[in-house]
Every structure is written in C-alpha cells, then in structure tokens.
C-alpha cells in the first residue's frame, strides 16, 4: 500500500509526511520535542493532560499534538507565545492540585512534572492550592506498591497500563469533575485487589504518585548490625539497567562495578541470583520431563502445558484470573526464593552460620518480588527464604547514598559459592530466556546432544513479539526417554499479562497446542520490570536485551546443568532434581484468589 503524503508547515519549515502521522511525531521528525505528560509510547493516546498543545493557523483552539493527525496545508507553531502561555497555565493548574513537596519525594529529579515546571519556570503561587480542602491517603497496604493520591496528576497512564499492557484493571478512574480520581474498586486497599504487584504502573507514572514500597533503611540497618550475616543476591536484569541510575546510557553492562559497589557498601557476601536460576532450570526441566512421562507413558490426567513460575506478577495474575488452572504452573519456586532457601540451609551449614542470623537481601528489577518474598508459604527452611527485597532503582539510590563514585569503580567477581552461573541463567532476564535456558538443558538431557542451534542461541524464541512459539523435534533420544522419540516439542513464550491472558484463554478452551510455556509478567520480561529505572520504553528495553545476550555469550558456561556449583549442590546436599529435599525447599504451591 503506497502511503499518502501530507504537506504541512511546522515552525516555518515545509515538510511532507505520511498520512495518519500525529503532530507530535511529525515535530519529532523535525527534531522538535513537544512536552507531553499523559502520552506514553507504550499506551494508547489519551489526550487529556493538554500540555502538548500547539497553535495551528486558522484554528479556533489549540489542538493537542499527541492526538491530532497531520492535515494537508496545516501551518503549525510549536512554540508561539500563545502556546507557551497555555502550557504554563496548564502546568500551573496541574501543580495547584499536586503535592509539590519535591524535596521529600522519592521521584525528585526523575519526575516529568518537575522537569516541565522547571523548564517553564512555573510560579507555585499563581493559583489556589486545591489540596488543602481534600483529604488524601497514602496507601501502604501492599508489600510492593505505594500509592500517594496527592501526587496524582490524573494522566491515567497507570490506568491504561493496568488495562492495556496487563489486563489487570486494578486501577480505574472514578467520579467526575472536581471529584475525579484514580483508585481501586470502592477504594479497597491495594493489598486486597487484583493488583499483581508488577509495578508497570510505577514505571509509567510521570510523578511520584505510584512508587515501590521502599526497604532501603531496613537494608542499611541489617548491614550495620554486627550480629547479622547479610547476603545480597542480584537478579540477571539488574546488571544491564542499574547503569541508567548512575549516569550510564541504556544498555550498559555494569556487573563488575555493581559487585564492587555492593561489597563496599558492606554486604557480607555478594552472590548471584543467576546461580539459583540455573538451579531452577534443572528442576523445571525435570519437572517437564516428568509430566510428559506421566502423560504419555502412564496416561495420567496431568496438566499440560506446563507453565513457568519465575514471575511473581504472573503467578498472582493466574491466581486471580484463572484460579482453576493453577495445576499448569510449575511447582518450582522462583530463583529468588530458591536462592533464599538454599542460603538458609546449605550455605548456612557450610559457613557454619545460624540461619536466624542470616539476612537475605535481593536486588530485583521487579516490585512483585517484594510481595513474593512475603508470601506465607515461602519459609520452608523454618526461616523466611528472603528478608528484604529492593528494586534496581532503590539500589541506585543506595549507591548514591553511600557516596561511592560508581563510574570509577573497578570490576570484581561475585563471591563463591552461589556466585557462579551460566549464560543460560543470565538470559532469564529477558523474555524467552527461561525457555531458551530450559531447552538447552532439557534437549541435552533427552538426547545427550546440545540443542541444534548455532552457538546455542535459540533465536526462534527470542524477540519482542508479544507471543512467540517454536517447535523442536526430538530424535535419536536416549533410551531412558524413548517415549519422546519423534515427538515435536511445542513451546511458546509470552510477556506482558495481556499476552499471558491470550495464552490462558486458549488453555481454558482446551486449544493450547503447547507442552511448555514461558510467561513473564512484564513487557520484554525482567529487563522491562516494574522495578527498573524510569523511563523504560521500547528503545531502552531493546538495548537492555542486547546487553543481556552479550553477557550470555561472554560466559564460559552456557548451560544450567553444567554450572559446577549446581552440580556440587546436588551432590553434597539435594541429591537429585525433584528429590525429597528439593521438594521441601525448592517447590511451592499456589493460592486461589478473588477478582476484586
């Protein structure tokens, strides 16, 4: 289809651009940045903040650039006196209903409203403060998300995120006029609604209205307590995003510096969630094989497809939305929790520590991990697997607080043991990674050969499409797995809960053609997680993903089952995958939940 071109003038310059282009994009193509607030490239256009107004010759009103398509012959001014005055006024209005306590705001210096207010030199006192007559509450009921209404500018980005990207709809707009605001069903506390804690709303919030619950002080306190042995683990996606908090461009890999920083901050042991990601893969691969066997050989009524369970937002989503299908979930705990359970048993024993003195801290790209750590069932060793969880953003803050000049730090290696990992574990951080890691292991277990892909890179499950699938034919299998000879293993990958729902709807009507499905709650997986630096957008997600794959390729070990520490763990402690101790410490169960 040949595109029709539209001719128009922007700020005195004639341009021709494809029909359907929005003025915002047209201006961008001319290197003019029009300010936006309610606009977010991940979301559908709302056009309600009105900050992006422009002047069009002959028009009665100032149209918004984010929702107005180019039209033939238009003469547009993006920075006329009228436009500037209007934008200042819109900002002044927003500020009059916004709690402008920037000095004490977690999002200070990373706030779109603050930036614009500074850019347009807004005088705080022009209009009457509307907050005075209203009562606002800060909802801290959730382990993961804090909601402060007094900072909400009603752009509805969170509402659209929750609906469009995640299909959760925990938040919506209520009432109208002066009373209009964003909240949950009948103002139910965040802890008691369908919220999956994914934190995408946080990542899409332009201000400090939605933030993660912060546990920074608790972590400093633990470090400062001489009776405690404080272990920190870092998730795969943190190392490719933390740099953004500390002056690096998106896509920078700062693993070594991060490890150095954590050691200097005073953690007793700096370890890697990647270690337990390898462990997860081994357990999960065997779980898949066991299910296939029970189904194909024993003809048991076993739930297939098997679905991954590393993403706590996905877990809570399925618990709320598809409670009748929980048996499809792998019973494996997530790497974070496996790590915690092993740390308080095997590690404690080896280090001759009393598990009660161990404090497990994890640095996660995720806000839902905070909730996961606090699930009732996550203390199989007799102690909570994990004590404190903080996000990539919080770690960025902590490093700044510690006064460390991050950019000048030398690299260091993770401590051992539980610091070793394979490339398969690293790619956990990006959509398709768990699948790729699992296939590298499962295929080899079944056939005794490496997966038949160039450089072990299973490119068919990589990429950013919402749902991807692949088939791998199993031939010349080892005798033990003869029932799989000739079977075409069908797998799928989905990221973002809206895509997860689409996969589930097929499962519900019995039309899912897959054996194994990887689901990540956040768009692009953990690299796009709700605990990652803000902004997060498509371009940034792509850069972080590239960094992850580079990290994988640089690893000496590329397959989870070859991680020597994991092999040793089975030999010295766990016995075999899916063994009795594994079941006790590394596997879990799920809870049916309401849909409020």
């Amino acid at each position: 289809m040949s595109e029709k071109m539209i001719n128009l003038v922007i700020d005195g310059k004639k341009i021709a651009i494809a029909e359907g282009t929005l003025l915002l994009e047209a201006a961008k193509s001319e290197n003019v940045k029009i300010p936006t607030l309610c606009y977010h490239e991940d979301l559908c256009v709302a056009g309600n903040c009105r900050i992006c107004v422009v002047e069009v010759e002959g028009w009665r009103t100032l149209p918004v650039a984010c929702a107005t398509p180019v039209m033939e012959g238009m003469v547009v001014y993006t920075n006329s006196p009228l436009v500037r005055r209007a934008r200042r006024d819109v900002l002044a209005m927003l500020i009059s209903e916004h709690s402008t306590q920037c000095t004490t705001c977690y999002r200070s210096t990373n706030c779109e409203l603050q930036d614009l207010a500074a850019e347009y030199n807004i005088d705080n006192e022009i209009y009457i403060n509307l907050l005075k007559d209203k009562v606002f509450t800060i909802d801290r009921s959730s382990w993961s998300i804090e909601k402060d209404e007094s900072k909400c500018i009603r752009c509805q980005r969170c509402v659209r995120t929750c609906a469009e990207l995640q299909k959760v709809n925990a938040l919506d707009v209520i009432h109208r006029g002066a009373q209009m605001r964003v909240t949950t069903f009948f103002d139910t506390e965040m802890s008691d609604v369908v919220c999956t804690n994914c934190g995408q709303c946080i990542n899409h919030c332009p201000t400090g209205a939605l933030t993660e619950r912060r546990y920074i002080d608790g972590i400093w306190d633990a470090i400062g307590d001489p009776t405690k042995h404080v272990i920190v683990q870092t998730a795969p996606a943190v190392r490719v995003a933390l740099g953004e908090m500390l002056g690096y461009e998106p896509g920078a890999r700062v693993t070594g510096q991060m490890v150095t920083a954590l050691k200097r901050m005073g953690f007793d042991s700096v370890l890697d969630t990647d270690f337990s990601a390898d462990l997860t893969i081994v357990e999960e691969a065997y779980e898949l094989l066991q299910r296939l066997k029970r189904k194909l050989v024993n003809n048991e009524d076993i739930a297939l497809p098997l679905m991954t369970s590393c993403s706590p937002a996905w877990i809570k989503f399925i618990e709320h939305m598809y409670p009748d299908y929980l048996d499809h979930l792998s019973s494996c705990k997530s790497p974070q929790q496996m790590f915690g359970a092993i740390a308080k048993t095997y590690y404690a024993k080896k280090r001759k520590l009393d598990p009660k003195d161990i404090v497990n801290v994890s640095i996660m790209p995720c806000s839902a991990k905070k909730f996961e750590a606090n699930r009732m069932e996550m203390k199989d060793s007799g102690y909570p697997d994990i004590d404190l969880v903080c996000t990539t953003r919080e770690l960025g803050h902590m490093i700044r607080q510690s006064g460390i000049n991050f950019k000048e730090l030398p690299d260091s290696e993770y401590d051992n043991f539980m610091g070793e990992s394979s490339g398969a574990a690293v790619i956990f951080g990006v959509t398709g990674g768990v699948m790729e890691a699992a296939l590298r292991t499962a295929y080899e277990v079944i056939t005794g050969r490496e997966v038949p892909f160039e450089g072990l890179n299973i490119t068919s499950v990589r990429g950013m499409e919402g749902i991807r699938d692949a088939k791998i034919k199993l031939e010349n299998v080892l005798p033990e797995w003869s029932f799989l000879e000739g079977v075409e293993l069908a797998v799928a990958v989905a990221h973002g809960l809206t895509n997860a729902a689409q996969i589930m709807d097929d499962v519900v009507i019995g039309e899912s053609p897959y054996h194994f499905i990887e689901i990540m709650g956040c768009p692009s997986g953990c690299i796009g997680g709700g605990g990652q630096p803000i902004p997060t957008n498509d371009e940034i997600r792509k850069k972080r993903a590239e960094a992850i794959y580079t990290e994988d390729e640089k690893k000496k070990i590329r397959k989870s089952h070859e991680n020597p520490e994991v092999i040793k763990l089975y030999k010295e402690f766990l016995g075999a995958p899916l063994g009795e101790l594994s079941h006790k410490l590394l596997h879990t169960k799920y809870t049916r939940r309401e849909r409020v």
């Binding site: 707009v173 069903f185 609604v193 369908v194």
Partner: protein, 155 residues
C-alpha cells in the same frame, strides 16, 4: 440477598453481557433499592465479565446511579439558577423541616431521601423537583408539604 443476586443475573441475561449494556443493567439493578451497594456492583462486574474497578468507575460517573444507601423515595430538588431565583432554597428548607433531615440524608422511617440536583428542565415553572421519576413544578412551601403528606397517606 438471594433475591437481589438473582435479579442481577436476570438483568444481565435480559440485556446481554456485552459492555454496551452496562448502563441499562446498572440502572435496572439500581431501581430495586434506589442505590447500588458494593456487592451489587461487584456482582454485575462478575456476571458481565468486566473488571470490577471499571464497573465502579462507570457507576460512580453518573449522578443517578447512587452508590449510597437511600430511602424508598428520593427527592431531587433543582438547585440551578432559574429555580434558585424562584425560591428553591425555601423548598429545601421546608422539606428539611418537614422530614427532619439534612440534605443527603434519609428519614428514619426510610421513606424519603433529600438531595439536590442540577437543572431538571422545568426552569419556566420553578422551583421544581423530582420525586423518583415524577416532576413537581411551581412549588411553594405549602404545596411541598401537601405532596409529602399525600405520599404518607397514599403509600
């Protein structure tokens, strides 16, 4: 409770589950008790397969889809300028005295709730009010008392 739940099911069945039928369904269920409770809204959401927060958002948008408990009859007195110029304030005062309640309240016998509303389209015959769906115009304090008394004797 049982009855109300089945009424919700019936309303959803009658209108259909598509989202476009949400407003008629909310209205029909509201009609039963003059308001929608939290559990009504939840039930409607579940029956229609819509997100509860969304149904709440829609219900709370509309003035006549009341989410607070109300009496058997709701009096809506017009507070817009034309009626106000003709003395709607006196009407409200008379009603408050007669019913012994304030604006927004319900009589202790559950018979009446007293509320104000924006222009109801009887500006030339103000002051005007609605009792439920029924308009009353050219009101005077005496007339209002008569209307209330008639409600008590007839119903």
């Amino acid at each position: 409770m049982q009855k109300r739940e089945s009424a919700i099911k019936a309303a959803v069945q009658k209108h259909g589950k598509e989202r476009k039928n949400l407003l008629p369904i909310l209205q029909e269920v509201k009609q039963i008790k003059n308001y929608l409770s939290r559990s009504d809204v939840a039930e409607i959401g579940v029956e229609m397969g819509l997100a509860l927060a969304h149904v709440y958002g829609v219900a709370s948008f509309y003035h006549f889809i009341d989410l607070e408990e109300r009496g058997q009859n709701i009096i809506w007195v017009c507070k817009t300028i034309s009626c106000s110029m003709k003395g709607s304030n006196d009407i409200v005062m008379t009603l408050k005295e007669r019913l012994k309640i304030k604006l927004g309240e319900t009589t202790s016998d559950g018979k009446f709730s007293l509320l104000e509303t924006n222009c109801i389209g009887w500006c030339h015959k103000g002051p005007a009010m609605l009792i439920n769906d029924e308009p009353y115009t050219d009101l005077t304090p005496e007339k209002v008392i008569q209307i209330i008394d008639d409600y008590y004797t007839n119903n």
